[in-house]
């Protein structure tokens, strides 16, 4: 019997308890005199019982899941002779693996040690016992709590409020998780950054004009000079993202407007999902396309015009990246534009405005938060993209305003620094975290500005 089966049984039990709770509420409602009405709708009574049946048992189950494996292994190890137990931890770890392989019935590495075989059998026996006891405890808990609630069901019981409180707590925990991730990211980046700034002055990092971090890590290696000026790669990031956004924002926004306001529903039903595929095409594909089609094209047309174009260019990467992020803008804007109430359009038409005037003056302002959200998301994706840049724009950090030159971005540098040889004492690896922090702060500022803009210009109707 596998533990996951327990959960399915538990779910079945919860739904049974739900029905019972609901039925009891119905019975109460019909038997009591009319003066005492049920506080909540009967379903809520059922739901409350079901929740109390499901949640505590789930808690028991997860605790068991977490600890049973290690407890059983320790117990099984106890049966081994002392000579086998008293070995250094990393060898013990290998012994445990042997044991686990035996338990799972995998191919063994060498001839099976009878003592170990015995331990494995012991383990399997104990596992059976522990599973049975888990089942007993789990279902006892489920039964206990659900019957407790079941008995307490009276017309006065504020079941809805209870259920809502539980659900709201669940929601709160979820959003806490999102906050936790943020904290996790900031903390993990922060500590390494501080160590970086102990070795390289902040001012050198923030205002340095030269980026060449691949310094020697071993004594017998000669790397590059080891300068950590972040300005060239920040500039590169902004240039490529800027090019990408100048492709994606007009196309994305106009597509969204056309699809939601002009296109017949059937066209929209097809075109929107088709465009969303653009966001899912693996970036390697875009990378190859940018490097082998767009970049040579730009190079050749540049040479026709007598311009000096390097074979890696910000323009090629930016253009292709722009295409990739179109759906972020088009789909999200389309959704919010569709959600603008018809009454507002009707009002505007009633005053004699044309469709485009209505869109520009009424709908866009009303849909602004969503549109800005989409653009921010698109910008974020552009900043975070690596493969296209590596393949089409190169890795060399030039400080230039010319989009026909090779540039590189912060994310690309972070990835190249973290993949391959790492040394967490050397500024070469630590600078990746400092870059992460810098990027985080810069986007933070951009987001705050966006929030401010939205608050200021958003037209809240109704």
């Amino acid at each position: 019997m596998s533990p996951s089966l327990f959960l399915i049984v538990l779910l079945g039990m919860a739904s049974y308890v739900y029905m019972q709770g609901k039925r009891r509420a119905f019975r109460l409602a019909s038997s009591e005199s009319d003066s005492t009405k049920l506080h909540s709708r009967p379903g809520y009574y059922g739901m409350l019982t079901a929740l109390w049946c499901f949640l505590p048992a789930l808690l028991v189950f997860s605790f068991w899941m977490m600890f049973s494996g290690s407890v059983l292994t320790t117990l099984a190890l106890r049966t081994l002779p002392d000579t086998m137990q008293n070995i250094p931890p990393n060898q013990l770890n290998l012994l445990i693996n042997d044991l686990h392989n035996l338990i799972a019935g995998h191919v063994a590495a060498k001839d099976i040690d009878p003592v170990l075989q015995l331990a494995a059998e012991q383990y399997l026996g104990m596992e059976r016992i522990s599973r049975i006891s888990l089942a007993v405890v789990m279902f006892a808990v489920a039964l206990f709590f659900s019957s407790l609630i079941y008995r307490r069901i009276t017309p006065r019981l504020r079941a809805r409020n209870h259920v809502e409180r539980i659900v709201q707590t669940g929601l709160m925990i979820c959003s806490g998780l999102a906050v936790l991730i943020t904290i996790g990211i900031v903390v993990s980046v922060m500590f390494e950054s501080i160590r970086f700034f102990q070795q390289v002055p902040v001012t050198d990092f923030l205002f340095g004009l030269k980026w060449s971090p691949q310094m020697a890590m071993r004594e017998d290696q000669a790397g590059s000079s080891g300068s950590f000026g972040a300005i060239p790669i920040m500039a590169g990031t902004f240039m490529i993202s800027g090019i990408a956004l100048s492709v994606a924002v007009p196309i994305g926004l106009m597509s969204a407007i056309y699809l939601s306001e002009y296109a017949p529903p059937r066209v929209r039903a097809w075109a929107k999902p088709v465009m969303e595929i653009l966001a899912g095409v693996p970036t390697v594909v875009y990378g190859f396309f940018a490097a082998l089609v767009v970049a040579p094209f730009i190079r050749n047309s540049g040479e026709l015009l007598g311009l000096d174009v390097s074979s890696e260019s910000a323009l090629a990467a930016g253009l292709v990246m722009g295409v990739m992020i179109i759906p972020f803008i088009s789909s999200l804007s389309d959704d919010v534009i569709t959600a603008v109430p018809q009454a507002m359009r009707d009002g505007s038409y009633g005053l004699g405005a044309t469709k485009s005037e209505t869109i520009k003056n009424v709908i866009i302002p009303a849909a602004l938060p969503g549109i800005v959200g989409g653009v921010l998301l698109a910008a974020s994706r552009a900043i975070g993209e690596t493969m296209i840049v590596v393949m089409a724009a190169g890795l060399s950090a030039n400080l230039t305003a010319n989009p026909l030159q090779a540039v590189t971005t912060v994310t690309v540098q972070i990835v190249t620094l973290l993949v391959g040889d790492q040394e967490f004492d050397s500024p070469k690896t630590l600078v990746a975290f400092a870059l992460g922090l810098l990027l985080f702060l810069v986007t933070l500022v951009l987001n705050v500005i966006a929030l401010y803009v939205v608050r200021k210009y958003r037209e809240e109707y109704e």
């Binding site: 042997d98 890795l395 040889d421």
Partner: protein
């Protein structure tokens, strides 16, 4: 809606916890290999052969780069650490020391063969003959003053012809691996340092100030003539066909596979062919290694058998399947010696 939502959440939580229950007590019954992306194609070929012809599972091979592999390898002994790491260079003393300190006491070193690093261009242009000195002068960050005085100036050369009048009159444009790559390390050490030494007064530096000598010889220019093109060698090959004027630096196996589109340049009078590299004539070739954690042999299922497969003649011999994949085999005596080392699990001893 609320009901549906709750049911969905319940189902999700069940699925997730059922899933996590699966790994409660299962040991690792496959070999875990990490390390260099250059050795990856060879190690995977052996692994596949091994998995298909024995009762053991196919080893899992991660491509993490030599340094990354060493780092994982040396975190300690135990089942959650890799059993073998591949490297496109020899283990460094610092890495060896780290291994020792973390309880990875006994390591066996196995050299598996050689890999040539080639400079190549599109077949649309003529084949070029470089000397190592040409390569150094074209790609170094600082070069000796062309006017003849014994001092270094920032590399002034823009075209190959300026470097050496016998070379074509095209812009210097070389696509090569980034500094994080082992291929770049080897190229710099073998080709550039080799060329660097041909300049008398720089060679004299080596005795006086070794560190300065290295930094002069090993530092690649950063002004756009050398283009760091990422680690994808296929992309470099395709870029060379799109841009016939450019040169690329990559492993021999890519030249071997694309002989109809690109040609290897002659370096130091020797063209990069299988035979020349195997005979040790071609100057830019490096040995490839893997390192074994001895304490895992006999514990992780299949370790001894896998090592046996890797060091068998049918794998790494003159006509073995690895040579089909582009690995240049070692001379027979060396193969015998390393095969014996593996059999006896001879522990590596490095001194500083």
């Amino acid at each position: 809606m609320l009901k549906k939502g709750l049911v969905f959440v319940a189902a999700a939580s069940i699925a997730v916890s059922a899933v996590s229950s699966a790994y409660a007590a299962s040991g690792r019954d496959y070999i875990s290999v990490v390390g260099s992306s250059t050795v990856y194609p060879f190690a995977t070929t052996v692994a596949e052969q091994f998995g298909k012809t024995t009762k053991f599972k196919t080893p899992k091979i991660e491509s993490t780069g030599s340094g990354g592999g060493m780092k994982l390898f040396c975190t300690g002994s135990g089942i959650d650490t890799p059993d073998i790491t591949n490297a496109s260079r020899r283990i460094k003393y610092s890495e060896y020391e780290k291994c020792q300190n973390n309880g990875v006491k006994k390591i066996t070193e196995v050299k598996i063969g050689y890999d040539g690093i080639v400079m190549a261009n599109s077949k649309e242009e003529a084949q070029v003959t470089f000397t190592k000195k040409d390569i150094f002068l074209a790609l170094a960050k600082d070069v000796p003053d062309p006017k003849g005085s014994e001092k270094l100036v920032a590399n002034p050369y823009k075209t190959w012809k300026e470097v050496n009048p016998s070379l074509p009159d095209t812009k210097i444009e070389v696509l090569g691996p980034p500094p994080t790559s082992g291929t770049r390390d080897a190229f710099v050490e073998l080709a550039m340092e080799g060329g660097c030494k041909q300049i008398g007064w720089i060679k004299a530096l080596k005795k006086k100030d070794k560190k300065y000598f290295k930094s002069v010889c090993h530092t690649v220019r950063e002004d756009g003539a050398y283009i760091e093109a990422g680690e994808n060698d296929n992309l470099i090959v395709q870029k060379l066909t799109a841009n016939p004027k450019a040169f690329g630096i990559f492993g021999f196996s890519f030249l071997d596979q694309n002989g109809d589109k690109i040609q290897g340049s002659i370096v130091g009078g020797v063209s990069p062919t299988f035979e020349n590299i195997a005979a040790g004539k071609y100057p830019v070739s490096r040995p490839l290694y893997f390192y074994v954690k001895n304490s895992h042999v006999g514990v992780v299922p299949g370790m001894a058998e896998f090592l046996n497969e890797f060091t068998s003649e049918k794998a790494w011999g003159e006509d073995g399947y690895l040579s089909d994949k582009g690995l240049i085999p070692m001379p027979e005596a060396e193969r015998k010696q390393f095969a014996a080392d593996v059999k006896g699990l001879k522990a590596l001893v490095l001194t500083k």
